[in-house]
């Protein structure tokens, strides 16, 4: 169902990132079965591009993988343990939902620092500013979030990725939404660096062009409807 060939890169990392594995996963929304029998593995150094038509359950699958929701059957594990109980999963996970998790009444810097602080990341002003520079939002660092455009909000929200310097797993729901070409390239650069570090990523995207620069495995959810 999914390429099972061993990934040589994974073993070469000193303390490799555990594999995120979905086994025989099923998800129901109301009375409708979104998908069933989904088997998926996201290994260290690997990015998986989750594809599927609207309403197929991409976001639901990401929420299951993040441990926000409980599957109807099957399970998602991080290494050996189910994601909800896996030790250290919260510290190694970066989940960027389709909502930006920025507060309208805070400045960009304040919003980002709060997220960094609560997630136990480096929340020093310099590192937050450096992260904003990585997504070209430094000039708007002291602007209130409510004054930003959709694309700028997305950039500010994705600046969290630039705060990551250790191996981690990124779960990104439509990260390229509302981004211009420059934004897409910047995020792609962050994801590439992340994969080269031995991190892993699971993301959805509607535009194939956005993911063109990345070495990714496609996973088509349409097959499991």
């Amino acid at each position: 169902m999914f390429p099972t060939a061993p990934v040589p890169a994974a073993s070469s990392y000193a303390a490799g990132l555990p594999t995120l594995t979905a086994t025989d996963l099923a998800c129901r929304r109301g009375n409708r079965l979104l998908f069933s029998g989904v088997n998926l593995a996201v290994r260290a150094g690997q990015a998986t591009w989750l594809r599927g038509a609207n309403g197929r359950g991409k976001t639901s699958l990401l929420r299951l993988a993040a441990g926000l929701a409980v599957p109807d059957s099957g399970q998602v594990t991080w290494g050996e343990a189910p994601v909800r109980r896996a030790p250290g999963y919260a510290q190694q996970l970066v989940f960027v939902a389709h909502t930006n998790a920025l507060k309208d009444d805070l400045t960009v810097t304040e919003s980002l620092r709060f997220l960094a602080l609560i997630c136990g990341r480096n929340s020093k002003l310099e590192s937050v500013h450096a992260a904003l520079q990585a997504v070209d939002m430094y000039s708007r660092r002291d602007a209130l979030v409510r004054t930003l455009s959709q694309g700028q909000r997305r950039r500010a929200s994705l600046a969290r990725l630039a705060l990551e310097h250790t191996k981690s797993i990124w779960i990104l729901d439509e990260p390229f939404d509302a981004l211009d070409d420059d934004g897409v390239q910047r995020i792609n650069k962050l994801i590439s660096a992340h994969l080269a570090r031995g991190g892993s990523a699971l993301l959805t995207s509607h535009q194939a062009s956005s993911t063109a620069g990345l070495n990714m495995t496609e996973f088509d959810l349409d097959r499991f409807a």
């Binding site: 996970l93 989940f95 939902a97 909502t99 805070l106 304040e110 609560i118």
Partner: protein
């Protein structure tokens, strides 16, 4: 853990500061609602003095409940709540910080406004002091229970009314002992017993409500 508490607490205070008028609305409601009673009941000082503690407590209760409905709604809508629950920080720490911030923004102004309101209702100075202490012990209970209700009704339509129906019964002990303390002082008794019970209620609520809130938030996010 303590850094997560202060992060959430400071952020909520900052947000309230950016929306000052909105943050002051419960206190304004409190003052307006209390000042309706002399108009409705009649201005006899004797009558007012007798019912003053009850009026102040009921109005404080309603002001807390009205303001707590939006405690988690905004964070739920913009995705901050998801991030907080995924952060690996214990849910009860976040729930406690939110409740503490709610108390600082809405509960504390009620405690500060109470002496003025008491004067309006012709309360004696001993009764006033008792009222302030009882509110100081009681309003945090209201914020903690209200937070629990806000989490339970998160994402529901007409969450506000449902929250009040769910949580009001739980606040009755605080109301009884809070208003009762002032009544005791008025009739020449000691309020120590009432304060002890209020304190015990506060400890019990502080220990259990954040846990229940965290659980309710997890369910609401699924």
């Amino acid at each position: 853990m303590s850094s997560a508490f202060s992060a959430v607490y400071v952020r909520d205070l900052r947000l309230a500061l950016r929306r000052r008028v909105e943050a002051l609305l419960p206190a304004i409601f409190f003052v307006v609602a209390v000042s309706l009673f002399p108009l409705g009941v009649g201005p006899e000082p004797q009558t007012l003095r007798e019912i003053a503690a009850g009026i102040v407590w009921v109005c404080a209760l309603l002001a807390s409940m009205l303001s707590v409905t939006s405690l988690y709604a905004g964070d739920h809508l913009d995705g901050s709540l998801e991030q907080m629950m995924l952060s690996g920080q214990p849910g009860f720490v976040i729930a406690s910080a939110k409740a503490a911030a709610h108390w600082t923004v809405t509960g504390a102004p009620l405690v500060l406004a109470a002496p003025l309101i008491g004067l309006l209702l012709d309360m004696s100075s001993a009764a006033l002091a008792t009222l302030v202490v009882s509110l100081l012990l009681g309003t945090p209970i209201l914020s903690l229970l209200g937070g629990m209700g806000a989490a339970l009704t998160l994402g529901l339509r007409s969450a506000g009314v449902l929250l009040i129906l769910l949580i009001l019964p739980l606040t009755i002990p605080a109301l009884i002992f809070g208003a009762g303390a002032v009544g005791a002082v008025d009739s020449g008794l000691s309020s120590a017993g009432h304060f002890s019970l209020l304190g015990a209620l506060l400890i019990l609520t502080a220990l259990t409500a954040p846990m229940a809130t965290a659980l309710a938030l997890r369910i609401a996010l699924e």
